[in-house]
């Protein structure tokens, strides 16, 4: 593989990424921004993890997160149920925001990731995979499952003062999804994938094309 020239995304310094051993990463010489990494696991590991995450997410979103019991009455909620309740109780904007950060963004993220990882198994990765990877980057910031989980736990502790609260199956699936998502990111090497992506002109260049014109 030819040495690749990059400009640091955080400070714009031009530098070359050295050959990396497994499990090592390269950081910017000036601002220490992580520039590249080489994961240890097999290339198929992210795909396996993504499939597991997709299953966990479906369960987490459909089955109740927790059940509440108080003097003979009970109530339960799911993640989309929480967002829906915000909507019906008059805080529509907040309901939409919660639905986006807790349900839509993670679901879209994992669907795109599955499509991308399946496409990445080909020798020449089709151009749409590049577009997909670009959208994944934008979505990642807004997918807040781990924050939602902490929020649910705090809410649970608050309510536990007033009533008996039992975690449901959804909660365990939710916990699994939270552990799996960072595992996908650490085992997935974006740079190698980008090097195999077909360009908009249908070619896959072998060398760093620093000096090509954009028009």
């Amino acid at each position: 593989m030819p040495l690749e020239s990059v400009a640091c995304p955080d400070c714009d310094l031009l530098q070359t990424i050295p050959p990396l051993a497994q499990g090592h990463r390269a950081v910017c010489a000036r601002c220490r921004c992580p520039l590249a990494k080489r994961p240890t696991g097999s290339p198929d590991l992210p795909l396996a993890l993504a499939i597991a995450t997709a299953i966990a997410l479906v369960i987490a979103n459909t089955l109740p997160l927790m059940d509440l019991h108080v003097v003979g009455r009970s109530a339960s909620t799911t993640i989309p149920g929480g967002a829906y309740e915000m909507w019906t109780q008059g805080q529509r904007m907040v309901g939409v925001l919660v639905a986006f950060c807790a349900v839509m963004a993670p679901a879209t993220y994992i669907s795109l990731m599955l499509a991308l990882l399946l496409a990445a198994r080909r020798a020449v990765v089709p151009h749409w995979a590049g577009e997909t990877l670009r959208w994944i980057g934008h979505l990642q910031v807004w997918s807040m499952l781990e924050v939602v989980m902490l929020g649910v736990l705090v809410a649970l502790t608050k309510i536990a003062q007033l009533a008996r609260v039992d975690p449901g199956i959804g909660m365990y699936a939710f916990g699994a999804a939270i552990l799996l998502i960072p595992a996908i990111t650490t085992n997935f090497d974006k740079r190698t994938l980008w090097q195999k992506v077909e360009w908009s002109d249908g070619k896959v260049p072998r060398v760093s094309p620093a000096l090509r014109a954009t028009k």
Binding site: C11, L14, T16, C31, S76, M86, V141, T214, K215
Partner: protein, 230 residues
């Protein structure tokens, strides 16, 4: 311990005098795609075009970075006041109704014996949003005054602000699931208050302000975009 991190090698003359005249992409009229990090020659400084590989719009520096970031941070600062003064939750019991602000929720958690959770909510809902606002304003002021000191520390501060931003959503989710679960009319029910909307706005606006800010501006003071000699 094995060192698992290597520093990328700096090309050309920048090697020995990184501080004075580091070779940046912008100085060579190259532009790095923000999405796939491909280095391309910019068609022109104002209109660099689109990335050939991934199709992202190319920008030498994020367009209107400082103005957009200032606008979003100011809007967030304005929303921060009602977010903390207006009630986020309203508890209705047969005995009457009770309003809770964010600080009220923290005090409730503390007095009910779970001080670690109280501390967590205090940090996530009060200190992080405020710290983020102060940090963004500090970064904007130092960039605008052309400061070239402690670039590495300021870049690290920027990365922390970006990384930590999402955690302030904590209180929004706590309120959502409290409301969703405690619907036991006529015994007890909880409804969201107007403070939630302002609080969510603070979080989203500060996240967008951090995204609008371009960290490369921190370094432009020590490596001017155009070489003075050419």
């Amino acid at each position: 311990m094995e060192r698992r991190e290597s520093t990328a090698s700096v090309s050309g003359p920048a090697c020995n005098k990184v501080k004075s005249a580091a070779l940046t992409a912008a100085r060579l009229r190259l532009v790095s795609c923000e999405s796939c990090h491909l280095l391309l020659r910019a068609a022109s400084a104002d209109e660099p075009g689109f990335c050939l590989r991934c199709g992202e719009k190319l920008e030498v520096r994020r367009r209107g970075s400082i103005a957009t970031s200032w606008a979003l941070a100011s809007a967030a600062a304005i929303c921060y006041v009602p977010a903390n003064l207006l009630p986020v939750l309203n508890t209705i019991t047969p005995q009457g109704s009770d309003d809770d602000t964010i600080m009220g929720g923290v005090i409730f958690l503390y007095t009910s014996g779970s001080w670690p959770l109280a501390l967590m909510v205090l940090v996530a809902s009060v200190m992080i949003p405020l710290g983020k606002l102060v940090s963004i304003v500090y970064l904007l002021i130092t960039v605008q005054s052309g400061s070239f000191k402690s670039g590495r520390e300021r870049t690290r501060l920027y990365r922390i602000v970006v990384f930590i931003g999402r955690w302030s959503m904590l209180d929004v989710f706590v309120d959502t699931f409290t409301v969703a679960l405690v619907q036991l009319q006529p015994l007890m029910s909880v409804t969201p208050g107007p403070g939630v909307l302002f609080f969510a706005a603070v979080v989203v606006l500060t996240m967008l302000a951090a995204e609008a800010f371009d960290p490369r501006l921190i370094w432009d003071a020590q490596t001017p975009l155009e070489d003075a000699h050419d």
